[in-house]
């Protein structure tokens, strides 16, 4: 649409202003991670004019003591031992393996749903979609008791299973949309040449859908990384992912805001980098493959 120069300038400024408002909490939170307690609790709140420090990161990660991942390191400067050291490793292990599980199962099903005609296919897709509607709490309560009996509480295996399963509907529908993009004539001519479905899947379709599979994997990873309720419910002491660990920084004695912000920043920066990799497929991922960019 043709617009006057002043209208364009106004629109540019408005766009930048709106996004700046949305960016502000991220900026503020990250800046808190670099503050001393005195600068955090100041009134009026400071935006930029504080003395930066990396103390919070040192405490949270136990860097000054060598790498303290996975230990019961305390980070409370007051002396009480009530903070658990962050478990970035737990987050990475759970997210990685649950992603592998979800993608492995979902590629098979998605290929089938994309290529094969069978009765009830449409209903099957709807069933997969409807499992996405289950409230996590309605799954977490029975899972807690089932896991208790199977001794899966507080184990990697348990969380990997639950996060993998949680991501299945997304992975299936998203991968199906990527497979749908590959012309099915390729399959049909290969079938005529005598190739089996399995060969076609492995040799032709999988390599062609590489980009889509990678994007789906990234999204599954992020959803496992940010998941809260299942981890809160199904773990006790030996495993904790970052979001749940962060919530333990709020205690009745007070909140270690600096440490919490440091941990939070460390958890979200990798996610920002990762999301840039899938920018192109982000909308498709967010809508479970229903809209293409």
């Amino acid at each position: 649409m043709p617009q006057s120069k002043s209208a364009r300038t106004f629109r540019t400024l408005a766009g930048w202003l709106v996004v700046a408002i949305f960016f502000f909490p991220i900026f503020f939170w990250t800046s808190v991670a670099f503050r001393n307690a005195r600068d955090i609790f100041d009134w009026p709140p400071k935006l930029v004019n504080f003395t930066p420090t990396v103390k919070n990161f040192e405490q949270v990660f136990g860097i000054s003591l060598g790498f303290g991942f996975g230990t019961q390191e305390t980070v409370n400067p007051g002396g009480g031992n009530f903070y658990m050291a962050p478990r970035l490793v737990d987050s990475i292990v759970v997210a990685t393996f649950s992603t592998l599980l979800a993608i492995a199962v979902a590629t098979l099903a998605a290929y089938c749903l994309s290529r094969m005609q069978f009765r009830g296919r449409h209903q099957f897709v709807n069933w997969v979609l409807s499992t996405r509607m289950m409230p996590p709490v309605a799954v977490a309560i029975p899972m807690f008791f089932i896991f208790k009996q199977l001794n899966l509480l507080d184990t990697y295996l348990g969380l990997v299973l639950v996060h993998g399963l949680m991501n299945l509907p997304l992975a299936v529908l998203l991968l199906k949309s990527f497979f749908d993009d590959i012309p099915s004539e390729i399959d049909e001519s290969a079938l005529l040449d005598g190739a089996s479905r399995w060969t076609i899947f492995r040799r032709i379709v999988l390599p062609m859908a590489k980009g889509g599979i990678a994007a789906s994997a990234v999204l599954c990873f992020i959803f496992s990384w940010t998941e809260f309720l299942f981890v809160l419910t199904l773990t006790q002491t030996s495993i904790k992912t970052v979001p749940v660990v962060s919530s333990t920084f709020v205690t009745s004695i007070g909140t270690a805001w600096g440490n919490m912000a440091a941990l939070g920043a460390a958890a979200i920066v990798p996610a920002f980098i990762v999301i840039l990799l899938v920018q192109r497929h982000l909308v498709r991922g967010l809508t479970m493959g229903s809209l293409k960019q």
């Binding site: 649409m1 629109r11 540019t12 766009g15 930048w16 996004v19 949305f22 960016f23 909490p25 503020f28 939170w29 808190v32 955090i40 709140p45 935006l47 492995a104 199962v105 098979l108 089938c112 094969m116 897709v125 997969v128 409807s130 499992t131 996405r132 509607m133 409230p135 709490v137 799954v139 309560i141 029975p142 008791f145 089932i146 399963l165 299945l168 005529l192 040449d193 005598g194 089996s196 479905r197 992020i222 809260f228 309720l229 809160l232 419910t233 919530s247 920084f249 912000a261 939070g264 958890a267 979200i268 996610a271 920002f272 982000l282 909308v283 967010l286 809508t287 493959g289 229903s290 809209l291």
Partner: protein, 295 residues
Amino acid sequence: MSTIQVRRFAISDSPWPWLFPLVALLMVFTIYPLIYNIWLSFHEFLPRKRTLAFVGFSNWIQLWNDTRFWGALGVTFIYFIIALTCEIVLGMAIALLLDAELPGFGVLRAVLSMTLVIPPAIAGMMFLLMEDPQFGVITYFLNELGLLAKGTPILSTSSLALAGVMVAEIWQWTPFMVLIFLAGLRALPAEPYEAAMIDGASAVQMFRRLTLPMMSRVIAVAVLLRGIDLFRVFDYVFVMTSGGPGTATYTLSLYAWQQTFSNLKWGYGATLSLVSLAIIMVLANLFIKLFKVRW
């Protein structure tokens, strides 16, 4: 020809071997918990005896008479409707604003997507910090603008607490709407707009008569996916208010969780979570039927 004949009988031609792992896992994740939940809703945990006892319909009767359940249901609906409306309206406005090739707008779209990868629990804590009555930056701005009396704690005042939580929700998920709507806007054909321009249609007319109808599917998908998540909100209320002050921010998910794990009323928690499940299923399927959303 013979190769084709051989192929026709290959086991991989049947859909079920391909679907079996998925079906098996989804059964474990959906059907089994569902049955277990229904079973649990007819039982209750007896802490003294440390056993589950069959209690018939007493959990369901208790649910009907539980004012806190109806309160939680009300809070969930208010949260769902207000947050969804704000996200759609704001999302559409920002999408229309950013739908142009102006300096830096590509960067802006990338920056907006950042909020979506922040764990909601951490986003909740960001706003917990910013809404703190003593040193929160949002509190400070609201005080300076005269919108909030000095010293009023947003998250511990029952009339404001839910709004305080929703700010975090809306902040994090409006970009979800923006990105989806932007993708929809960019896929729109140019011809109808050119024709409308020639006919002298105003921008508002073009939005109502062209953009909205052509975007209806995109909007329906975004509303469905976001609506499902809004109805089962847990993370924000858990970290920001834990349902307080009083019961002002108890949502259905949080109430079910606390009944199960804090009050050890396993059966009643299961009953509550089943109600939440049933409402989501009915509303979502109704929406899918009504707006003919297809995957």
